[in-house]
């Protein structure tokens, strides 16, 4: 008895990516437009007034990692959550549940596809950014690794969300009411060091701070928190999501009832 059905996993992965291309306008064009608008508003309008930039980095360039992360978190979460929620909602999930497919194949298929979409999106956003600002990536390998890690973690997170949600409202409430505020407050457009106390300390409780600063470090070699802490926390988050999903599959929660 095999423990992993590679063909099944590949089938799910392919199907999910195909679904994304079916809605290419929404899943690719929209983020590009949003990112461009951010660059115009923050980079050009506000950045022009920021003398000397941030930590010696031009303001427009400074916000590139933050903007990238903003999109990655949002898109990974919503892509993965919709990916699994829709078949649950329509009932089409019967086929997956009746197939010789376990947690591993499901994760590789759904989460892998969502993460892949995020990576494609990251490439598009970084390319778009070059039209607005000059930026560098000092540690490209770390940057790629970090982007993959974040995409995978938040795709997993989105997958859990998609299993937990029993309405479209719940599906959008977490990204809107938790993820978005945390991201905006997490130093996407500014350095935590700019905040007065006690807000600086309070901000350190925001997990997104570590993500933004981790990515910023891979771009510019400096950030508000150490890269080790950032990586460690992201990995811990990933591990927690995997453990939770394994538990969900073992109990059949929200799937086999």
């Amino acid at each position: 008895m095999s423990l992993f059905n590679a063909r099944s996993a590949w089938t799910i992965y392919k199907q999910e990516l195909m679904r994304a291309f079916r809605t290419a306008m929404q899943s690719i064009l929209a983020p590009v437009l949003t990112t461009s608008l951010y660059f115009v508003v923050f980079g050009a309008a506000i950045g022009g007034r920021m003398q000397g930039g941030m930590d010696g980095v031009n303001y427009g360039a400074f916000i590139v990692p933050g903007l990238l992360l903003l999109t990655l978190l949002g898109e990974s979460t919503s892509n993965a959550s919709f990916g699994i929620y829709m078949p649950r909602f329509t009932g089409a999930i019967y086929e997956l549940l009746s197939a010789p497919v376990g947690v591993a194949e499901t994760l590789v298929g759904f989460v892998g596809a969502a993460a892949t979409k995020s990576l494609i999106l990251a490439a598009i956003i970084l390319t778009t950014a070059t039209f607005f600002v000059d930026y560098t990536i000092i540690h490209p390998v770390y940057a790629l690794g970090f982007i993959i890690l974040v995409s995978a973690s938040f795709s997993l997170f989105g997958f859990i969300l998609g299993i937990w949600a029993d309405s479209f409202e719940k599906l959008s409430v977490v990204p809107m009411l938790i993820l978005m505020p945390l991201t905006f407050l997490g130093g996407t457009f500014y350095s935590i060091q700019m905040l007065p106390e006690p807000w600086r300390t309070v901000a350190m409780a925001n997990p997104v701070v570590y993500l933004v600063n981790g990515l910023r470090w891979t771009f510019y070699g400096s950030s508000d928190v150490s890269i080790g802490v950032s990586l460690g926390l992201t990995l811990a988050f990933l591990a927690a999501c995997v453990a939770l999903i394994a538990y969900i599959f073992r109990t059949g929660w929200r799937l086999r009832n």
């Binding site: 059905n5 329509t90 019967y94 009746s98 197939a99």
Partner: protein, 318 residues
């Protein structure tokens, strides 16, 4: 039963809300047969199928398929089982061909365009292969779901109300296709509300009600055992009591003595003979009658009797 292909023992399912949908089901399915599971709305048919196919986590009991424990060897066993769900639920934006190929891949099999083509042709879907499923009619959609379930060549196929919402002509067509599947060696378990469907194609019939299997038998044997002749004899004048001469027959007075009701027979002609004897006895006793209405109970009557709790009929046969 020797080596059943599916062996369900003591299966129970209580939903989180506290509703017990299955209250200890025992059921054995023979290899190669068509088994019809008959029951009213909410009897637990879909739940039973779901428990076998992995859609519903059973609360208790065991399920063995192909001689192996489903709980332990679900991965290899599920690959040999197919399911056509009751609801028309699938990604409606997919074209037919891709949807059916996807199903095959999902069950871990390599692509086989020739096989998919054969399946689509056998279900008259070949012309529609590039059409989005949502653009098909209801009956066609159901056939797509059948095609999807057949795409991995299951040895055991569940059809949950395969002909619901399908017109008479298409229904006959589908019966034919299901028979063909059986001829190719597939064991088929179907649920249905249409008695004629079970009567037409099943080898054996199981009656389920409120999460319990009431009876399982060969279709013919069941008809014979439960098949009843019902005769209503309208009397010229009301009677106060059943005449002495009819004491030996299962008759009763109804409608304030204006009608004599006979219920009996064995589904194989005994009933009609009895009714003839009853009328002769009435004539001999000088009791006049104005009309006789006689009919054989179909499986539907049996079914209705059973599910309405009028088990007196069944009890009388034992």
């Amino acid at each position: 039963m020797l080596d059943p292909i599916l062996d369900i023992r003591g299966l129970t399912k209580t939903y989180p809300g506290g509703l017990t949908a299955l209250g200890g089901v025992d059921l054995q399915i023979r290899k190669g047969e068509i088994f019809a599971l008959l029951g009213p709305n909410g009897a637990g048919k879909t739940t039973l199928i779901g428990a076998v196919c992995g859609l519903v986590r059973p609360t208790g009991g065991t399920i063995h398929a192909f001689g192996e424990d489903m709980g332990k060897h679900w991965r290899t066993l599920r690959a040999r089982i197919g399911l056509v769900p009751q609801e028309l639920s699938t990604d409606m934006f997919e074209p037919v061909w891709r949807s059916v190929s996807h199903s095959r891949g999902l069950f871990g099999l390599p692509p086989d365009p020739a096989r998919i083509e054969a399946i689509l042709k056998s279900l008259s879907l070949w012309d529609k292969r590039n059409v989005q499923i949502r653009a098909l009619s209801g009956g066609m959609k159901r056939r797509v779901l059948i095609a999807k379930a057949m795409s991995h060549d299951p040895e055991l196929l569940f059809l949950d109300e395969p002909t619901a919402g399908v017109d008479v002509e298409l229904r006959r067509d589908m019966w034919k296709q299901i028979s063909e599947m059986r001829e190719r060696g597939t064991t088929i378990i179907l649920t249905t509300h249409y008695i004629e469907e079970a009567e037409e194609m099943a080898d054996r019939v199981g009656i389920i009600r409120a999460g319990k299997i009431l009876m399982v038998d060969e279709k013919d044997a069941m008809m014979k055992r439960l098949g009843r002749t019902e005769a209503l004899i309208s009397l010229a004048a009301p009677l106060a009591a059943v005449p002495e001469v009819l004491a030996a027959y299962p008759v009763a007075l109804i409608e304030e003595g204006r009608k004599l009701c006979y219920r009996g027979g064995d589904g194989a002609g005994q009933g009609k003979t009895d009714v003839a004897e009853v009328t002769k006895a009435l004539t001999r006793a000088g009791i006049d009658y104005t009309a006789i209405d006689i009919h054989e109970s179909s499986l539907e009557d049996i079914f209705v009797d059973l599910v309405e709790g009028r088990e007196a009929l069944a009890g009388g046969a034992a």
